[in-house]
């Protein structure tokens, strides 16, 4: 394969991964709202619709995007313009750039063609993420200072000193992982954990996991650590004076950080793309069986979901009295048909034995799916915590960061060191 093709593939991967992460954001916003509705027993997104199609409220994210794009960008008389404009860019830049070293799956090898679903396989791996995410302090600091409001400046100072405090805890927590895996590369860290759940770092280094996960809440400025924008005290914190897409950039960056954070937690502590008890070798050997099982599960799921939706339609006929009534049918009937088609198709495809390349591709896609599923689970944990816990007070936050997390982090290093000696013996 020549160099030109390599470069084209690299470019394709960059665009694909960035688009993937940015497109997860509307989905996460929807998840957040649905989560809030279910957890706090309130109305979630249910109004917006296009010709009666509501998709359970995802259309609201589209409406948000349209609204943010068409609003005017405001500024104040005290705004320092160059920095005011650059700050949201920094925020988004950091969020996009940190995905570079994240491996989504094992490399796909077909013949002599190797495809790795990762932008750059750096030897400094995880350190790259830590270093670049430490730059996101600038976005907050500059946004707050340049917009020229008191709330903004106070929010910025609070936010940045919170972020730097918890960055330390994060740095100490990952030292334990380096000790156990002996590498900065995320590929090595995942490979070292393997497919057996009690070899995953979450089991071997539980303290490290708790520290890192807690610090991640503070780094992404989410409840219970959302003091930089604590509404009750600072109206909106560092982005009080922002509007339209400039605010949208901060908003998107927050969710992109959430995705990256969840990816990192998955990779470091939960075996990344590994399916519990099924190593890649096992999967390759039994690819045809895997396909059959997936086929059956998919068919049953489609049938059940389709039946549920159709039943829902029959029961609640005439509830809205307009096009929205038929939404369940629009999705229910095709799903039922797909389920039936899969069931019929099983008898045709069932006995097929997959060729080598197809089995490789299947395992690749399966592992990608597992990786994303684990990530979405951790995103859900972020959302879950946000709507469950109340906000800390600022002095409590600093006390937790400095007097609890850092001593624990130091102790954790020694525990991990002794464990490494024990494991290595």
């Amino acid at each position: 394969m020549d160099f030109g093709t390599d470069i084209l593939i690299a470019l394709g991967k960059v665009v694909l991964i960035v688009v993937m992460v940015l497109n997860l954001i509307p989905l996460l916003i929807w998840m957040e709202r649905k989560g809030a509705a279910y957890i706090q027993d309130r109305r979630g997104p249910n109004r917006c619709h296009i010709l009666g199609i509501r998709l359970g409220g995802i259309i609201h994210s589209l409406a948000d995007a349209v609204k943010l794009v068409t609003k005017g960008s405001t500024s104040t008389s005290a705004t320092f313009h160059p920095l005011f404009v650059i700050a949201p860019m920094i925020s988004l830049f950091v969020a996009c750039v940190t995905v570079a070293v994240i491996p989504f799956t094992e490399p796909l090898v077909i013949g002599d063609f190797t495809f790795q679903f990762q932008i750059a396989d750096l030897s400094a791996g995880l350190l790259y993420v830590i270093a670049l995410s430490s730059l996101s302090v600038y976005a907050i600091l500059l946004a707050g200072w340049s917009s020229g409001g008191k709330f903004s400046l106070l929010g910025a100072l609070r936010g940045s000193s919170q972020m730097i405090s918890y960055e330390l805890a994060m740095g100490l927590a990952i030292v334990a992982i380096f000790l156990v895996s002996g590498s900065f590369r995320l590929n090595d860290i995942v490979a070292e954990q393997g497919a057996i759940p009690w070899h995953w770092n979450a089991v071997r280094l539980p303290l490290s996991f708790i520290l890192l996960f807690t610090a991640m809440f503070a780094e992404t400025n989410r409840l219970p650590f959302d003091l930089p924008e604590g509404e009750s005290e600072l109206s909106a914190g560092y982005h009080t004076e922002y509007s339209a897409m400039r605010f949208g950039a901060f908003f998107m960056a927050e969710y992109a950080h959430l995705v990256v954070g969840s990816l990192i937690v998955t990779l470091l502590f939960f075996g990344g793309w590994h399916i519990p008890f099924l190593s890649s070798a096992t999967l390759h050997a039994h690819a045809s069986d895997v396909l059959r099982i997936l086929w059956i599960i998919g068919g049953i799921k489609a049938l059940l979901l389709g039946a549920f939706l159709v039943r829902h339609f029959v029961r609640r006929k005439g509830y809205w009295g307009d096009l929205r009534d038929y939404e369940f049918l629009v999705f229910g009937v095709p799903l039922l048909l797909v389920g039936l088609a899969l069931a019929v198709g099983f008898f045709v495809v069932g006995p097929v034995v997959l060729p080598e390349w197809a089995s490789r591709l299947l395992v690749f896609l399966l592992q990608l799916g597992v990786m994303l599923a684990k990530t979405l689970f951790f995103v859900w944990v972020f959302i879950w915590v946000r709507w469950t816990l109340p906000r800390f007070r600022y002095d409590q936050l600093m006390r937790l960061g400095w007097k609890v997390m850092i001593p624990l982090g130091l102790v954790n290093i020694f525990i991990a060191g002794m464990m490494t000696m024990y494991l290595e013996r």
Binding site: V14, T70, T76, F93, A120, G148, G149, G171, F184
Partner: protein, 124 residues
Amino acid sequence: MNLNGISLLFLFALAVIVGLVMVVGTSFLGKWRGNKARFIPYECGLDPVGSPRSRMPLKFFLVAVIFIIFDIEVVFLYPWAVVFRDFVADGKGVLMLVEMAVFLGILALGFGYLWVRGALEWEE
């Protein structure tokens, strides 16, 4: 030049472009109706009092200084952590652990000093 570097350059460029499109594009897409009140910094509907960039407490400074010191400490830990397994394989694990214990012990002294002096306390 390896492929990693090229991919990273692509990514950096793309990230800048995405940011630029969003931040600059909003000036062209959004409708902006001028109004004097829009230029006033938001202070819950009241007229702003005093300078927007007034002096801030020194606590933030102290946090930042202590952060730098510990950040450098953590940076010293990284190379140690990565080679630790190799040292254990060579049978020098205890020595390395002691070496790091001395390093961290001296810093723990400093940490204790900060604690006793109340530098980690947020309230005065």
